[in-house]
């Protein structure tokens, strides 16, 4: 890839204008305008290499994995396992036994709630979450707490949308069995101090789960450095296909967990009245997995590796800082989340005090600009912020400053359209 130029500071810098060519969808016109895709927190667009890989898999390699002795089956298995190795490297060099394929972050968290939670959470135990969790890291625990009689506690946020860390001892108290926190908020953009939280959790004998759906795509993540016990994320938010997610879990914890689904692939031996579980990671991968999408996740990881996650983060800091500055010029907007890009990623939620987010999103769409409007699957957080819904622009590697300018112009135009200004 010739998308990388070396800057004076000797670290890689990415040029969105060049790498846009790798993303065919960005040539689309929406309502007669150039598409400006600012809904990357929901899902990112895919480069040619990923699209081609999907096609090539079905055209050339398709077979079931782990169960055939023919050439295709071997090739498919090896491509499938090759992605697993790349994932293990991508998040800090963990063992492949610790990388479990799921359908996405949601299923990864449900797997933990089901397999680990139902065995280890008892009445009176405490599960600690935060006020900024996505429903994926909320509903499984609400259900588990209801079933077991466990107690849920939430680390509150402050006015800037950062976690209030001062009363933590009372929240992560001795009865805590699990602390489950998003690494980066999909609404506020806040980057949470998950390493510190893991330390606090471990000090009380609790485990630490990190929802990495928004962080792995945007930050250099090292799960060993964080010392997370579980770490979950989705391929589709980082250039990869939909339908593939990853649960990282520490080997000794996964060893002691019961399977999530039962059936083929996850067993070592089955008799009519008994079954033994397969070894890690396959114990948690019953049935035919999503092979094609897992295989096509590899070129997405290659793409990010080639850019370098530091360069990805730098670009995002730059564009987010610019967007925050430009949006703050519009006095009728309320912009949520931390103002310092050191503490945040590129998901920027805002409201216009007069225009409902739905109407704003429809208006922006008429200008070719894709943003999300709604509660972003974090209804308790919206309530906490005192709003029903917000509009959200979220950036990725191919977004440019010009696109931010166009967003700002369109927001001004919306005022003229709806408020006769």
């Amino acid at each position: 890839m010739d998308t990388i130029t070396t800057s004076k500071k000797e670290h890689k810098q990415l040029d969105p204008m060049i790498l846009r060519d790798d993303f065919p969808i960005l040539n689309r016109k929406i309502n007669g305008k150039d598409l400006i895709y600012l809904d990357n927190a929901a899902t990112t667009q895919k480069p040619w290499s990923v699209i081609e890989s999907l096609r090539r898999y079905y055209e050339y390699q398709n077979a079931n994995v782990h169960r055939g002795l023919h050439t295709l089956a071997e090739e498919a298995t090896s491509a499938f396992e090759n992605t697993r190795e790349k994932v293990a490297q991508f998040i800090g060099g963990v063992k492949t036994e610790e990388i479990i394929y799921t359908r996405g972050t949601t299923e990864a968290i449900n797997l933990v709630a089901y397999s680990w939670g139902r065995k280890n959470i008892k009445e009176g135990d405490r599960i600690v979450l935060t006020e900024m969790e996505h429903h994926a890291n909320l509903v499984p625990w609400i259900v588990l707490a209801k079933e077991t009689g466990a107690e849920l506690r939430y680390i509150p946020i402050d006015v800037d949308g950062m976690l209030q860390m001062d009363n933590l001892d009372q929240i992560i108290a001795p009865d805590t069995k699990l602390v489950s926190v998003t690494h980066m908020s999909n609404v506020l953009g806040t980057i949470n101090p998950v390493k510190e939280l893991a330390e606090r959790a471990h000090a009380q004998g609790a485990l630490m789960l990190v929802d990495g759906a928004q962080s792995v795509p945007h930050l250099q993540v090292n799960v060993k450095d964080i010392d997370a016990d579980f770490y979950a994320f989705s391929a589709h938010k980082m250039l990869g296909p939909t339908g593939v997610g990853i649960l990282y879990g520490k080997e000794e914890i996964l060893e002691n967990m019961e399977p999530f689904n039962y059936g083929g692939e996850m067993i070592s031996e089955v008799r009519f009245d008994h079954a033994d579980w397969n070894s890690l990671p396959w114990k948690f991968e019953a049935g035919t997995p999503n092979i094609a999408d897992a295989v096509a996740f590899a070129p997405a990881l290659d793409y990010l590796n080639d850019l370098g996650m530091e360069a990805v983060r730098e670009h995002e800091k730059e564009i987010t800082a610019y967007a925050l500055r430009r949006l703050s010029e519009l006095k009728y907007l309320r912009v949520f989340g931390p103002t310092d890009v050191k503490h945040r990623g590129g998901a920027v939620s805002f409201i216009d005090r007069e225009i409902h987010p739905h109407d704003l999103a429809t208006f922006l769409d008429s200008r070719g600009i894709a943003v999300r409007a709604g509660h972003h699957c974090a209804q308790p957080l919206a309530k906490r912020l005192g709003v029903v819904s917000t509009a959200r622009a979220s950036f990725y590697i191919y977004n440019t400053m010009e696109e931010v300018d166009k967003l700002v112009e369109a927001l001004k135009e919306a005022r003229r359209y709806f408020c006769n200004e």
Binding site: N31, G32, H356, T362, S366, A373, G374, S389, Y417, F418
Partner: protein, 154 residues
């Protein structure tokens, strides 16, 4: 460029949005219901006063987008003096308009016609339906002697 958008946000819609009818809360409430659009979290509160099984007065409290507020406002304007079966028929007409299907006979379409522009915007159809679903659910349950407390657009 604004043509489609102007179809959606017609003057009448924006007028209903800025000055929604049925804003006043009722003193005598025979039926109460709330509606929720789970997609966006928008909520609507509805109060109905009945007389001889017809809607005598109605309150529509909607914290929502231009489409859901104006649709609720048009509803408040249209359903007064109507029976359940008449309200249902109007609601069917709204659905037909939003889907671009022929409207049932014998309904005076009136302001409803402005909702037609929404059919170009499938994701916004639910916004327009919220108030209608909430009212029909409320009246139906009342007729069966059941309580409703919440309707959703799902």
């Amino acid at each position: 460029m604004n043509e489609q958008l102007d179809e959606l946000y017609r003057d009448i819609i924006m007028d209903h949005y800025r000055n929604p009818r049925g804003k006043r809360k009722l003193d005598k409430i025979d039926i109460r219901n709330e509606g929720k659009n789970p997609v966006c979290g928008d909520e609507i509160e509805m109060q109905v006063e009945l007389e001889d099984d017809k809607v005598k007065d109605i309150h529509v409290g909607c914290m929502g987008c231009a489409i859901s507020v104006s649709s609720g406002s048009i509803l408040a304007e249209m359903v007064k003096g109507k029976s359940l079966s008449e309200v249902k028929k109007i609601a069917e007409t709204v659905k037909a308009l939003l889907r671009g299907e022929p409207v049932p006979d014998g309904v005076d379409v009136g302001d409803l016609e402005v909702l037609e522009g929404i059919k170009q915007f499938p994701v916004r159809v639910k916004c327009a339906l919220l108030s209608w679903t909430t009212l029909v659910d409320a009246l139906e349950s009342h007729e069966k002697g059941k309580d409703v407390t919440l309707s959703t657009t799902e």
